[in-house]
Amino acid sequence: MKLVESYVQEVSQFLPQTIREEVAQDLRTSIAEEVYELADANDREPAREDQVEVLRRFGHPLKVASQYQQPRYVIGPDLYPIYLHALKIACIAGLAFQVVVFLISGHLRDWQVGVFDTLRTSVEILFWMFAIVTSIFVVLEYSGEKLRLYDKWAPEKLSGENIGVINRQDVITNFIGEGVFLLWWNDVLAWSTWFPMLQEHIHLAPVWHDYFWHLNIIFGAAFVLHAWVLFRGVWQHSELVSEIVLNVALLAVGGVLLGAQELAILPKDELVAVSDHLQTVLRTVLVVIIGFTAWDIWLAFKTLRSKLSFSDQEEGAAV
């Protein structure tokens, strides 16, 4: 039964050392039983085709080996949802931490960082967050330690203020956009390597400087709010109101800037010719940002209103 022995060896290679010999012996006997019974049924001595037929019925060696073992996961279905959640939180926390550290370093040491270095640091942070969180959960899975989070959950702890699930892509876009703006606005992020002409020749008009702290506060608050909302995954009433207030404030500042005589200045005489075009481009960019901000306000308002009307219906039904 050379064919059977080869098959048993094939199966054995996928088995852990501890059970390999025992299962191999078990399998040898089981297959031999089947081969002999098949040959008996055909009223002849066991032949090669009997072995082939029986082995075909047993199936692929890997499949049989898996049947002999308890299912093992790197991260199993019990832990996977919470692993994914933890991973998202860790990545957001890592990126938020990066922005804060860059801002503090920039202010304290008059330090600047290039776009490429910022991106590289972000990717490194995301990689390390992935490695650390995954390692922790693999250890949890293999140690057999069960997280008690599921048991600790109680419906009484729900705030009842959840309004709707966030659109994660939208909020992440806002979160990243706000982080990049804060770094740029505070002169930490240097564009010089990518756009040397812009950095050297074009400066923002004085009207922007009047709103330095206004924009820092609006974008800083929005950055924190979006990090928090990404962490929670759902909008609450107070968070949506904050979102609307911040966007209205941004709309107001954007409106004032839009009305300014000039948005950028070109110190070099030879570039005066392009000044008008530059003002137009900047105004267009501002209009687009204002448009998106207004759209965000409308979405937040719509979500808030749908929740309020739903609550009214509930109260009506209760009465």
């Binding site: 299962v23 039983e33 047993f58 199936g59 049947q67």
Partner: protein, 117 residues
């Protein structure tokens, strides 16, 4: 779409069969069997089980202490005979109670739907 439905159906069937198969094997093991005779007994009663599923299951049940086994020679061939252990008999009785209760509930639940259909 047809293939997707078939996939879903096959997964659900395999889930239903997985638990039922353990009960069926334990029930058959009230009498002594060796691997092939068990598979044949199950097949004769309408439950076809792949060899690659049945033999690992027998081994798992034995490792758990629900089956006991001994090697004997029969018809000039050495075979491994299995039967329900004392622990296996206790677990089998408990499982059977669960199965009967579940079966009763399912008949009540599925019955009216069948009448509708």
């Amino acid at each position: 779409m047809e293939a997707e439905t078939q996939d879903i159906y096959e997964k659900l069937v395999s889930e239903i069969r997985r638990g039922a198969l353990v009960l069926a094997v334990l029930a058959q093991m009230r009498q002594e069997h060796y691997g092939y005779s068990l598979r044949k007994a199950l097949a004769d009663q309408g439950l076809d089980v792949e060899e690659g599923t049945l033999y690992p299951l027998i081994r798992r049940l034995e490792t758990q202490g629900l089956l006991s086994s001994e090697w004997r020679e029969e018809g000039k061939r050495k075979k491994r005979f299995y039967r329900l252990s004392d622990q296996g008999a206790t677990v089998y009785a408990q499982l059977l109670n669960q199965w009967q209760a579940l079966n009763k509930s399912m008949n009540l639940i599925v019955g009216p739907i069948q009448a509708h259909a």
